[in-house]
Every structure is written in structure tokens, then in C-alpha cells.
């Protein structure tokens, strides 16, 4: 047959084509390999800094450590911010960038304490109803103009201006700034806000009620100044690279969503001569495991988190790089007290007792979290931290008490407690829900259905009160106990469980204007220990990987505010 005789010819053709294809493929890979073989990670860093200048310093001015030739810091930042406008940003990822770009009256020191920043000093008068901040005179915007009290007035007004539509407008209101509520409701003009510039460098805040912790609150970006010149020139586009003017240690250079944001040292910044990091690159990596791989390949100096599933391995393999910083954040389960069986305080108490928190922090979360028996974490500054009596019991004692409570509430083997535990879809929430529901099942014979919902669906169900028990996390907005305790007041927008206690509400109201609010806070916590509107599980930590070459990471700041200007990169 002819076909038989032509077959070798065909085979040759195809073989030639194939060989060519494979060779191209290999050549392509090899070409990349050659360029990359030097050090792919370093190459990526080099590409990331584009034309970053060589560092001005060879050694650290204070410690004398040899510094890396290029001071380009690459930070893993879990996702993209809602905005870079200090008055529109509303998330931690945005906050991380905004505190590098802008500077407020105060900042968070290495231990979480409030330190002077743009304000060199402050004082209150009129029984804490009027606060006066004295600004530094050497503050400069990145266009070289002076930062004045007028910029703070402008910024604070923007925050409450309905036209700006800031999520955190309520933050100004919760600080008690005069007329904030009326402005948000559209009843008064933003100009009516209780802030004014006495002169270029004196900023005065008038409050409706005396708030003693106002300076702590000004660490938050909602109380940052805003550059009127840039906003009026560019409108909504003022946060774009090239348009943005900022007063922090860095200024925005480039930003491509989903790839990276690059900030460069602001030469006009007042302490620019002490800033060592020249460029900061924020890489938004939503998946914690992808972020870990980027770190492992040498392309990140620090991660924003660590996958829970990798904790055990990393503790063994990279113990020196794993940072577990206490955080002012509490992980808990909220009871819907308007719904049986949780309308019975004995049920809430039994379930809270029966959670073996040591098992959870040692075997599930593994990030040096601390068992929680209170709502407010101990790391909150100035807080008189106390624990309820059952915190001192052994777990078997708590379990026994829990069984008794449940029996009193009328639940037996024939009539077991049944309910649904709701959480948002996430590996670590799932692990926790499984383990805790198993504890309740074994110790109390409870029949728990655990169900997960996609994030926004979960939130809308929870906020509508359509749940029995739901996961709840809470991170403090400022470093003072009221940021936690006001979560459970009757008028709180986040008190989804619907618990209400007149004495508790009054205590927190009284605490606001008190010189020493601690006695009120202690009493408020005591009410929570009796009433169990929530079951606290643990106080969270911020877990991250930090390169051994990156120095100055704030390991002891429970607010987890990482200022790039405080860090530096040492030579190999």
C-alpha cells in the first residue's frame, strides 16, 4: 500500500515539527532561567524598585549596623484598599498604606501608646470639653507647602461631610465633636463642626461631652489632615499617582490594582533625613498561602498574615521569622438573646463555660493567642484588666458547672439542646466551629448544626438578627476600652445579638466623661460575666513572617500599626 511507503516521510515531518516546538519551549524556559538564575527573588525586588536610588547611608546612624545597598521594603498587604483618601479608607489594608502617606496629630508608639506626631503637645480645658493641639511648624505637604491647623479643620470637616460619604463619619461623632451628628444627618453645614484653627499652628476641638481619650482617638486616619490644594485641583482623582499630595514620610508613586502600589520617600517630610527606607512596595495578595510562597521565594520582606494550616510547620522551620504580636482584637460567638434557647442566660453560661480555650489556642489557632473570658483584651492601654471567677477554674470544673446550668435550664439527654452556629466561609472559622461544637456535643450533649455563609450574606443575616449563634470578631478602633465595651450597648449598630441592659448602657455613658473611667469599665465587664451576651473565645494576635534582615518591626504594638519609616533593611 502506498500509505505504508509514505509513512516514514510523514513521521519525519511531524517529528521535525514536534522537535522544533519542544526546542522553542525549552529555549524559552532556558532564556528565562538564565536571566533568573542569579537570584530570581532579588531580580523581582530589583524590578520592583524600578530605579530606586542607592541608600544614602551605609550604616545605621544609631546602631551602626551595615545597611542594604537599596532600601526598598516590600510588604505583603492582603488586599486592595477601598481608597487612599484618609477620609474614605475603611479597612486595615488601606490604613497600612495611609499611615505611611499621611501623618495625623498623634501616632501609635512601639508599645501601642499614643505619641505626638504632627501635634507636639496638647491640652484640655473647660473640663475636657475643649482640646487644643499645638502643631509642629516644620510639617510639610509633599508639594512643599506647610501643614497647618487649617488642613486639619478641612480634613475633619470632610470626614463628616455627607457629600464625601465617609464610612467613618460616625468616628468623629463618637469622639463627641460638636455638631458632628447634625452634620451627618444633613441638618447643619460641615462648617458648623466643632473644630477651628486658632492660628496656623493651633488646632482646637470643641466637644459636646467631655471625652478624656480624644488624643488616643486622633491616631486614627479619619482624623488626619487633608490637602485642600490637591483635592480642589483634581476632585475625585486626587488620590491618583501624580495628583496626590500627602504629609507623611512617603508619597504615592505608582499604583496598579492587584499588582502593587509603590510609595517613595517624601523629601519634604519633616524627619526625612532620619527615614532610611527609600521605597515601600505594597503587594496585595489575597490568598495567605500565595503570600507565604512569595515570602518563601524571597520576594517579600514581611507578610500580612500566615495560613493557620502552616503554623506548626513554620514554627519549626522559621521560628526566628515568625512574629506573633498581641492585638487588640477579640474572637467570640454572639448569642441572639431574643431567640430560644439563647433567651435563657443559663444556656449562654453553660455554652461559654464548656469551651476549652486552651485546646483552641494550643492546637487550632497556634499563634500565641490568649484564652479570653472577657470582652476587652488585657493589652488595651490603661485598662484595669480583671477576669471572672470561672477563668481561674480548671476546665473539668467549668464543664461540671456547665452541665449543672444546662440541667437547671431543663435540657436532658431526652431533651437535648439544639441550635445552629453560623460563621462566614473561611478555613480557620470552620476549624474553630467544628472543634467548639464538638466540645459542646461531648460535654453537654448539645446538637449543634454548623453552617457557613458567604461573607456578605453572612453579614446581612447577622445584622438582621436572623441567627441563633454567630461568629463575631472585633478589633479596636483606638487604644481604649470603650472601643470594645460600646459594642454591646443598646444603641450600638453592631450589637447584633440584641442584648440590652440599662445599667450597662448608663455605665458606659458615665465612663465617657469621667476622669478615671476604669471603675465603670470594670463594673461593665462584671455585668457581661453575669449575662453572657457573647462567649469570648480568644484574644487575637497578628501573626506575620518578617525577614531577619528587616529591623524595627513593631512586635509589641497591639494596634499592629506598622510605620515603614521606623524600619530599615540590613545588609546580608
Amino acid at each position: 500500500m502506498t500509505s505504508r511507503s509514505t509513512e516514514p516521510a510523514i513521521g519525519r515531518d511531524i517529528r521535525t515539527v514536534l522537535a522544533l516546538l519542544v526546542m522553542t519551549w525549552v529555549a524559552l524556559l532556558a532564556a528565562c532561567g538564565e536571566g533568573g538564575q542569579k537570584k530570581a527573588g532579588e531580580q523581582a525586588l530589583a524590578a520592583a524598585d524600578i530605579a530606586a536610588p542607592e541608600s544614602r547611608l551605609k550604616t545605621h546612624p544609631q546602631t551602626g549596623e551595615p545597611l542594604a545597598r537599596k532600601q526598598v521594603l516590600v510588604r505583603g498587604n492582603s488586599s486592595e484598599p477601598a481608597s487612599l483618601d484618609p477620609h474614605l479608607v475603611q479597612d486595615n489594608v488601606g490604613g497600612a498604606i495611609v499611615v505611611d502617606l499621611f501623618e495625623g496629630l498623634t501616632r501609635s508608639g512601639p508599645n501601642g501608646d499614643t505619641e505626638p506626631a504632627m501635634a507636639k503637645s496638647w491640652s484640655s480645658s473647660d473640663n475636657n470639653l475643649t482640646w487644643t493641639f499645638h502643631l509642629r511648624e516644620d510639617g510639610r505637604w509633599s508639594d512643599g507647602t506647610a501643614v497647618t491647623a487649617h488642613d486639619f479643620v478641612y480634613g475633619w470637616r470632610r470626614a463628616v461631610d455627607p457629600e464625601v460619604g465617609s464610612n467613618y463619619a460616625y468616628y468623629i461623632e463618637s469622639a463627641g465633636v460638636a455638631n458632628a451628628g447634625e452634620i451627618i444627618a444633613g441638618e447643619k453645614a460641615p462648617e458648623a463642626l466643632g473644630v477651628r484653627a486658632l492660628d496656623d499652628f493651633t488646632f482646637e476641638v470643641s466637644l459636646d461631652e467631655p471625652i478624656t481619650y480624644l488624643p488616643d482617638m486622633t491616631v486614627h486616619y479619619t482624623m488626619f489632615p487633608a490637602p485642600r490644594q490637591a483635592i480642589e485641583a483634581h476632585g475625585a482623582d486626587w488620590t491618583k499617582p501624580g495628583n496626590m499630595v500627602s504629609n507623611g514620610a512617603y508619597q504615592l508613586k505608582t499604583w496598579h490594582l492587584g499588582e502593587k502600589l509603590v510609595a517613595a520617600r517624601n523629601p519634604h517630610y519633616r524627619e526625612d533625613d532620619q527615614t532610611i527606607i527609600d521605597r515601600v512596595v505594597y503587594v496585595p495578595i489575597e490568598s495567605a498561602s500565595a503570600e507565604l510562597q512569595r515570602y518563601a521565594s524571597g520576594e517579600l520582606h514581611m507578610t500580612s498574615t500566615v495560613p493557620v494550616s502552616q503554623m506548626a510547620r513554620l514554627k519549626k522551620e522559621r521560628p526566628d521569622e515568625l512574629v506573633m504580636a498581641p492585638s487588640i482584637a477579640t474572637y467570640m460567638y454572639t448569642f441572639n438573646v431574643n431567640r430560644p434557647p439563647f433567651d435563657d442566660v443559663r444556656v449562654r453560661r453553660a455554652l461559654t463555660y464548656a469551651i476549652d480555650r486552651n485546646v483552641i489556642v494550643s492546637y487550632i489557632t497556634r499563634g500565641e493567642q490568649m484564652p479570653a473570658f472577657t470582652l476587652t483584651p488585657p493589652y488595651v492601654s490603661g485598662f484595669d484588666f480583671r477576669q471572672p471567677e470561672y477563668a481561674t477554674w480548671s476546665q473539668p470544673e467549668r464543664d461540671e458547672a456547665a452541665r449543672q446550668e444546662l440541667r437547671k435550664a431543663g435540657y436532658t439527654e431526652d431533651n437535648p439542646l439544639e441550635f445552629e452556629l453560623l460563621y462566614n466561609t473561611d478555613e480557620s472559622h470552620k476549624a474553630l466551629a467544628i472543634v467548639i461544637s464538638q466540645m459542646w456535643k461531648e460535654k453537654l450533649g448539645a446538637k449543634v448544626t454548623i453552617s457557613n455563609l458567604e461573607w456578605k450574606t453572612f453579614l446581612s443575616q447577622k445584622q438582621a438578627g436572623n441567627f441563633g449563634m454567630a461568629r463575631q470578631g472585633w478589633k479596636g478602633d483606638y487604644n481604649e476600652a470603650s472601643t470594645f465595651l460600646t459594642l454591646l450597648t443598646s444603641d450600638s449598630g453592631n450589637n447584633d445579638g440584641g442584648w440590652s441592659n440599662a445599667e450597662y448602657d448608663q455605665l458606659l455613658l458615665d465612663a465617657r466623661s469621667s476622669e478615671d473611667p476604669n471603675p465603670y469599665y470594670v463594673r461593665a465587664e462584671e455585668i457581661l460575666w453575669q449575662e453572657f451576651p457573647v462567649a469570648p473565645v480568644y484574644f487575637n494576635t497578628t501573626v506575620a513572617l518578617v525577614s531577619p534582615r528587616l529591623k524595627g518591626y513593631p512586635e509589641n504594638n497591639p494596634r499592629n500599626i506598622v510605620y515603614s519609616k521606623d524600619m530599615y533593611i540590613t545588609a546580608d
Partner: protein, 306 residues
């Protein structure tokens, strides 16, 4: 042919409108909204935010405002990324996905068709078994498995390639995204090509050609390949749109800054304008490339006329 194109264009407008309407209704039916947050803000604050984005208006009014803006080419502001409009987001991210996609598509066509033809010609012999085993493996290696594996091998272990980034689309930054994108498509195309080629080689006109004594390579290249490609082209049309509009996995694992991430994140964040914008883009591309496929049919099979 000309009237065919006109007809297609006329059908495209109502199709896109229907797509917008259905997506709009479905999106608003999903629980929660773009501004539902873990921190519930006070009512007055929420009202101000919603007013800023026209969400305080009745749904039908929002719909007409939206359609009116789209008609003028304005896809509206993103609700999640407040510093950007949807037009800006698409303009900055789509070219990247399209660039990775174009390279991936080239590899898909060359390797997929090449390997498929090889397997068909060597049916039930070792080249066939090798290709088909590789194809089966490729099919079960979707990009969310492939991408992290590539990073682990080439970036973490061997340190040959950077694990992520874009840097103007330099070759070392896009090699892994392209491989991750192309692998399962190559496998799929190889399988389709193989079975279609085998079928064509058995058809009477090929037997006639053989009986006439035409050499086999001429039979394959001149007579069998074109008809065998018809099912492949039907698959590649929609696949092309899928490839150039990127993938959330590739964007997330490699930080390529492409458009794939926006589609999924848009849905998760209830970023109404962003999802609608990308839906319209994908819709338009799908209609366009389906038309291209139909035109290709006339070339592949002279019997097809419009």
C-alpha cells in the same frame, strides 16, 4: 457575508441589553450590598453613602440611570475601589490579561492541535498513549492546582523565576501565568482534535483520496485537517474569550494585575458597577468571537454559506 455581519450586529444589541438586565436583577437580589460591612455604620452615615452612589433611588431608576450611562460608554464608579471608575479598572487590567491570554492561546492552538493530530495518526500506539495520558493529566490539573505548583517548583525551590509581578510583561514574569493558563486548554484541544481527526480519517473522501494514491502527509494536511478542525474551532471561540479575560487564580497567585480578579472580587464585594462592566465586556467579546467562529466555518467547510 455582509448581510450576515449586519444581522449579527443587530442581534447583539438586544442580547447585551438582556444580559445587563438579568445581571442587574440577579446582583441586586444577592443578600447584602456593596456597603455592607462587618462594622455596621449608623443609619445617617449609610444614607449619605448610598445617596452618593444613587443607591437610595428606586431600583428601576437605578437601572435606567445605569443603562443610560452605559450607552454613553460610562460604566460608572467602582463601589469597592472608590478611587477608580470601572472604565479605569478595565482599561488598566484588561490589556494585561489579554496579553497573557494571547500568548496562552498561541500555545493552545500550536500544541493542542499538533499533539491531537499526532495522537490521531499514531492511534493506539505509544505516541497516542503518551499524548492522551498527558492530556488527561492536563485536564485534571486546572490552573488553581497548576499555578501554586509552578510557583513552588520554579520560584521557591529552584529560584529560576520570580513568583509574581508584572513589570511591563517581561518574559520571566509571564512564563508561569501562561503555562498555568494554557495547560488545561492544550489538553482539551488535543483531545478534541484527536477524536475529530480520527473520525475524518475514516470518512469516504479520505478513503477515495488514498485510493487515488495521494501521499498520506498531503491527505492529512490538505484534506483531513480542515474538516477535522471544525469542532476544535467551535470550542476555541468561547475558549478564546475565557483565556483573554483572565483568571482570578492567575491574578491572585502571580499578582499580574489582570481583569480576572475583578470579576470574582466584584461579585464577592457586591461591586455592582464592576461586575456589570466586566459582564458587558465578556458579553461583547463572546458575541464577537462567536461571529468570528461562524466566519471561520465558511473557510473550513465550503458547504457553509450565510
Amino acid at each position: 457575508m455582509f448581510s450576515f455581519i449586519i444581522r449579527r450586529l443587530l442581534v447583539a444589541v438586544p442580547t447585551i441589553l438582556a444580559l445587563i438586565t438579568v445581571s442587574f436583577v440577579l446582583m441586586h437580589a444577592a443578600p447584602g450590598g456593596p456597603f455592607t460591612n462587618e462594622r455596621n455604620v449608623p443609619e445617617a452615615v449609610m444614607e449619605n453613602i448610598e445617596a452618593k452612589y444613587n443607591l437610595d433611588k428606586p431600583l428601576w431608576q437605578q437601572y435606567f440611570i445605569y443603562v443610560g450611562n452605559v450607552a454613553q460608554g460610562d460604566l460608572g464608579p467602582s463601589f469597592r475601589y472608590k478611587d477608580f471608575t470601572v472604565n479605569e479598572l478595565i482599561e488598566s487590567s484588561f490589556p494585561r490579561s489579554a496579553y497573557i491570554g494571547a500568548w496562552s492561546f498561541l500555545f493552545v492552538v500550536v500544541f493542542g492541535v499538533g499533539l491531537g493530530v499526532l495522537a490521531a495518526l499514531k492511534q493506539n500506539r505509544w505516541p497516542d498513549y503518551t499524548v492522551m495520558t498527558a492530556a488527561m493529566t492536563g485536564v485534571v490539573f486546572p490552573n488553581f492546582v497548576m499555578a501554586p505548583l509552578l510557583v513552588l517548583l520554579f520560584a521557591v525551590t529552584l529560584r529560576w523565576l520570580p513568583a509574581g509581578g508584572w513589570e511591563g510583561g517581561q518574559v520571566e514574569f509571564i512564563v508561569m501565568p501562561i503555562i498555568a493558563m494554557a495547560t488545561s486548554y492544550i489538553a482539551q484541544v488535543a483531545r478534541i482534535t484527536r477524536s475529530s481527526m480520527i473520525e475524518t480519517l475514516r470518512s469516504p473522501f479520505i478513503r477515495t483520496a488514498r485510493a487515488k494514491g495521494i501521499p498520506r502527509h498531503k491527505i492529512v494536511l490538505r484534506h483531513a485537517l480542515k474538516p477535522a478542525l471544525i469542532p476544535v474551532v467551535s470550542y476555541l471561540g468561547p475558549a478564546f474569550v475565557g483565556i483573554i479575560t483572565g483568571s482570578v487564580i492567575i491574578d491572585q497567585v502571580f499578582s499580574t494585575g489582570g481583569i480576572g480578579q475583578h470579576f470574582v472580587n466584584g461579585a464577592i464585594n457586591r461591586d455592582y458597577s464592576l461586575i456589570l462592566g466586566i459582564t458587558i465586556l465578556v458579553g461583547v467579546l463572546t458575541i464577537l468571537f462567536n461571529a468570528v467562529v461562524d466566519i471561520l466555518y465558511t473557510w473550513l467547510d465550503p458547504r457553509v454559506r450565510y
